[in-house]
Each structure stands twice: as C-alpha cells, then as structure tokens.
C-alpha cells in the first residue's frame, strides 16, 4: 500500500534525538491516528460488524420477533432454521434464480458499458451531453425508475406493448413482468427474469461505462498510433492493444457488480415483488422477516446467502485472482 511510504517525513525520528523523545513522537502519531479513525470504527463496528455477528447467532436460535424482548441474547440453540432453509419449498430454485440473475446482470452491464465507452471514446460534438444522459439511469432513484419500467411494459397501457402490437404485429400483449415463461419461436424464455436482468443491465451499465472510459483515456495514444503504422485493423487494435489494458478493470468490475447484484433487494422487489420466477434470495429473506416475523429463519437464509457468495467469490479468486490483485495494487 502507498499509505505507509507517504506519511510525512516530518515525523521521522532524527538520528541525533534521544530515544525517549523519539518514542513520544511516534506515540503521538499513533494516538492521533487512532483518535481520528475511532468515530468511523465505532459506527462500523456497531452498525455493521455487530449486526453481522448477531445474524449468525440468530440463525442458530429458535426465535420470533416477539420473543426477542423477553429472552436473553444466547440460548435456545437449534439447527432447525438451517434445516428449514434447505428443505423449504423453492429454496434451490431461488438460489439458482439468484445466480442466473446475478451473472446475467453483471455480464450485461459490463458488456453494454464497454460498448458505450468504446463509442464515446473519441470526442464528437455533444459528447459531454451524451455522456451526461448515460449516467441518468444510475443516478435516478430506484423506486422511480422501477415504476416507469412497470408502466412502460404494462400490458394494457404501456407504450411498449402498444407499439409491439401495432408496429411489430404481436398478436397479444406480453406481460413482461408477470409472465413466468414465454415461448419465442418455440423456445421457452423465462420472461420476468429476463426483463429484470435487462432492467439491471440498463441501470448499472453507467457504472461500468465510467470506469472503463476512465481507463481507456489513460491508455497512451502512442500504442495505438504505432499499431496503425504496423498496418493493423481496428478490430485487431481493440483485441490486442486496448483489451489487455482493460482486462484488470473488467475483472474488478465483475467482482464488484457480482457482489452487489447478488445481495440486491430493491430492484426485484419493486419490479415483480419476487413473483413469476424472479424469487431471488434477498427478497425471500425480507418475506421471512416481515410476513412471518420469523427472525431465526430469515437470519439463517441471509447467512446461507452470504456463505454461497463467499464460496463463489473464493472460486472466482482462485481462477482469476491474479488479475484482480494486479488492478488493486
């Protein structure tokens, strides 16, 4: 890390100075550092670390929301919750849905982000405005954009279905968000899940776009100019010169987007409420918590989700770890 080397030399102990004085200076710096960082530390410990630990405890207890006031923090141990998580109907399909949703959205947003960054790489009149427009889906509140999509795709008053039937000749409206499966030329497509993935791609491609564009602009122009002289085609320059430079950023983006989408609750909950084959695990946790006030089951489900994520990340780093580390160093 760069932080260690860049601390002010002013605090470096001078050789002539006697030993006790030196330790005081270092001690001062140490204390100042701890004092300055402690508010953050306290908040993070109380509002993040402590709740995480407590979730793990709750997952192994037999509790409902009403019991928590009366019973102690520990005790009432049980493995029931985990057992019920694994045996509950729809658990495995929900996990599978989460994985498909996450991979689809991650790939989608990075791919569209990459295409967008390539298209906006070279200056053109109005580029600044186009770039601004492209950040809109990412900046706008999820509740608002989810409802706009709902209306846009609505079978009775949505403009998409209206045009689909009048311009493209669909014989009946498509219920994008409430239809589990749809036959497209005889192939069943998981319609609602697909729509949710498209939404997620739309909402998060600006994130990938920003990072990739920043990285592209840092690639020295000389590299590509030299390649032009060597008689390469545009595709070759992208494939062999630009792409290797972008790969570390893409690897990092994949991890970030994967983690965030895997735990995502708002988008699916607002669009479909978890119905029609979009029952991702995060929405299940919410349902266990609020519909049944079953704290133990909700915690166990959340812990299982976190463990699956850690395992998947572990696999990812095992295969691609070097690349991500390169980017972070």
């Amino acid at each position: 890390m760069t932080t260690v080397t860049q601390r002010p030399p002013a605090t470096e102990p001078e050789p002539a100075r006697p030993a006790p004085r030196k330790s005081t200076l270092r001690g001062q710096e140490n204390r100042a550092g701890l004092v300055l960082v402690s508010p953050t530390l306290v908040i993070v410990l109380v509002v993040v670390v402590l709740p995480i630990l407590w979730t793990i405890v709750l997952a192994f207890q037999n509790v409902r929301l009403v019991d928590i006031q009366s019973q102690g923090l520990f005790g009432n141990w049980t493995l029931d919750n985990l057992e019920r998580v694994f045996s509950s109907p729809g658990f495995w399909s929900s996990l599978w849905t989460t994985v498909v949703y996450t991979i689809g959205s991650t790939l989608g947003s990075i791919l569209v982000g990459l295409v967008a960054a390539l298209a906006l790489r070279k200056p053109f009149p109005g580029r600044f405005l186009v770039r601004g427009a492209m950040l809109l889906p990412y900046v706008a509140p999820v509740v608002a954009v989810a409802f706009v999509w709902q209306v846009l795709l609505s079978p009775d008053l949505g403009v998409v279905n209206h045009w689909g039937m009048n311009v493209f000749g669909w014989d009946r409206p498509i219920a994008f968000l409430t239809q589990r499966s749809y036959d497209v030329w005889g192939v069943p497509v998981p319609m609602a899940l697909f729509t949710v993935i498209v939404f997620e791609t739309w909402r998060y491609f600006p994130f990938a776009f920003l990072f990739l564009l920043a990285r592209m602009q840092a690639v020295p122009a000389v590299l590509e100019e030299a390649a032009v002289v060597d008689g390469t085609t545009p595709w070759q320059r992208f494939r062999f010169i630009l792409m290797p430079q972008l790969l570390p950023v893409i690897a990092l983006l994949s991890v970030l987007r994967f983690i965030m989408t895997f735990n995502k609750f708002d988008d699916v909950y607002l669009l479909t409420g978890g119905g029609a084959g979009t029952d991702v695990v995060a929405v299940r946790v919410y349902r266990f918590l609020t519909a049944r006030f079953d704290v133990g089951l909700a915690s166990a489900q959340a812990v299982v989700l976190a463990v699956v994520l850690i395992v998947l990340l572990g696999l990812y780093f095992k295969f691609f770890g070097r690349r991500v580390q390169e980017e972070q160093s």
């Binding site: 993040v48 809109l136 608002a144 209206h162």
Partner: protein, 288 residues
C-alpha cells in the same frame, strides 16, 4: 474493399448507431415519466401509444394531487420531501464529519492496526444489506429508534462511510506533504492542518464525496421500508412513492408525477456537480 477499410467504415457507422441507441434507451424512460405526469389519465387510456402531449390536454393536476397535504386529500409529498432532505443532508454532514478525520488518518498517519482498518472499511462495503437488515431491525426496535429518522441516518452513515473514506483517501494522498510540513513549522496543530490546509486543497473531492452520500441516502429504499413503514409522517419520498403504488387504484399519471418529484432533486444536484463526482468516483481507476 480491404479488410481495414471495411472495418473503419463498419465501426464508424456502428459507433453512431450505438450512440443513438444508448441515448434513446437512457432518455426515453425519463421522457415517458414526465410525459405521463402532465397527461390526463383518460387520454392515456384512450391512446397509450401517443408519446407527446398537446397544449389542450396538458395538466398539472397529477402534481397537485401528489403535493397536496394528506389532510387536504392529497398524497403529502411535500412532507416526505422534507423528511428525505433532512435524512440526506444529515447523512452527508455526519458522514463527512466522521470520514474526513478517518481518511486523513488512514492516508497520512502511522498507527497500530492501520492496514487492518483500511481492509475492514473496504470489506464492510462488500457485506450484504440483507444480512444487516434482521439484527438492525431488532436493535432499533429495542433502542426505540424504530420509526425515527435518526436511526435511518445512522444506517446511512455506516453504509456510506467506507466508500467516503476510500474516495477522500486517494485525494488526500495527492496533497503534497511539504505543504503540511511548512504549516507544522508555522506552529499549526494537526487538526488545524487538516482544517486550514488539507481540506481547502481537497475541496473538490469533499464535494464529490458529499454528493455521493447524498445520492445514496436520497435513493435508498430497503432500510426506509424496514424502519419507517409503520410511521407515515416519517416516510421518505422513495418509501412514500412505493406505498402510494401499493395503494388502491392510484392512477398511473399520479404515480409518474410522484416519480418526477422523487427524481428531480437528485438529478439536478448531480448534474450541477457532475464533473466533480465522476472524477472523484473513478480517480482510483486509472492508476492500474
């Protein structure tokens, strides 16, 4: 045509196709949102395919209905705007108050466990909100913070402080150490150095970080839903809009007017400082 010439022509055309498609895809939903919000619901039902509004049908009734207070038969979004503003501005100020010293310490001072702290802050960011939801729900119920805006602010600080520190840190390290040394020689204490030297120099990044926090807090939905759902007078705009959509027979035009009311403040604020925010967000990305 040689392969090179073909590709230059092909990608040259594709570039404009892509730009046009992206502009339509990103802007159209927002255009549609505004369009529906100024249209009478009957005209929408009559002809859903018409994507413009004529002068004669233009109406602000949807906005009137959304913004009128609940006592007067409206949806009371003015109160919710106030709640959202309180929560978001509170989260920005407190997060900066906590994150600036933290970021300074992490970037400049050598202290016990420094590396562990940096790792912890980044690690925290990767934990799922759903994992926190259950115990926070219970903790806040116990502490009597359930249904209060203060509880929500505390959660937002915890959610944003790691990224805030990360964003500020990368900027603090670019402030030359020699400037600080000179100030120290002039007799300034550590806190004075941070306040009078480092902060003014890092002002753009502080602004960008504040904007990021504002955006997260204003747009947040899950924790607002968990903590405030039972307390309508404390609803934020995001939560209010979702509850409105759940209600009986609310016309889509009113829903869209609510969406515009929710979207406009954060979008305006973002574009007012767009340059700063994007530079702050990606300042770490072009080092690799």
């Amino acid at each position: 045509m040689s392969r090179d010439a073909f590709q230059i022509r092909f990608f040259g055309i594709m570039r404009w196709v892509v730009i046009a498609a992206l502009v339509v895809a990103t802007l159209f939903p927002f255009y549609y949102m505004v369009l529906l919000s100024v249209k009478p619901i009957d005209n929408l039902l009559l002809d859903p395919g018409r994507i413009w509004v004529s002068a004669s049908e233009f109406t602000v009734n949807s906005y009137r209905s959304v913004l009128t207070s609940v006592e007067d038969g409206g949806q009371g979004f003015v109160l919710m705007l106030r709640n959202s503003a309180l929560v978001s501005i509170g989260a920005v100020l407190l997060t900066l108050l906590v994150a600036i010293p933290g970021a300074y310490a992490v970037s400049r001072l050598r202290f016990t466990g420094q590396r562990k702290v940096s790792a912890l802050f980044l690690g925290v960011y990767l934990f799922p909100a759903t994992l926190l939801a259950v115990p926070l729900f219970v903790m806040f119920a116990k502490a009597g913070l359930q249904g209060s805006l203060i509880g929500l602010v505390i959660v937002y600080i915890a959610q944003t402080v790691p990224v805030a520190i990360y964003m500020l840190r990368s900027y603090f390290t670019t402030v030359p150490v020699s400037v600080e040394e000179a100030a120290a020689l002039d007799g300034l204490s550590r806190l004075q150095i941070v306040r009078r030297i480092v902060l003014p120099l890092a002002a753009p990044s502080v602004m960008a970080t504040g904007l990021y926090v504002f955006m997260i807090a204003w747009n947040e939905f899950l924790f607002a839903l968990l903590f405030l759902a039972a307390e309508p007078s404390h609803w934020t705009v995001s939560l209010g809009l979702q509850q409105l959509a759940n209600g009986v027979e609310v016309p889509k035009t009113v829903l869209m007017a609510g969406s515009v009311v929710l979207t406009l403040p954060v979008v305006l604020m973002f574009y007012a400082a767009e340059r700063m925010l994007t530079e702050g967000l990606t300042s770490g990305a072009d080092k690799g």
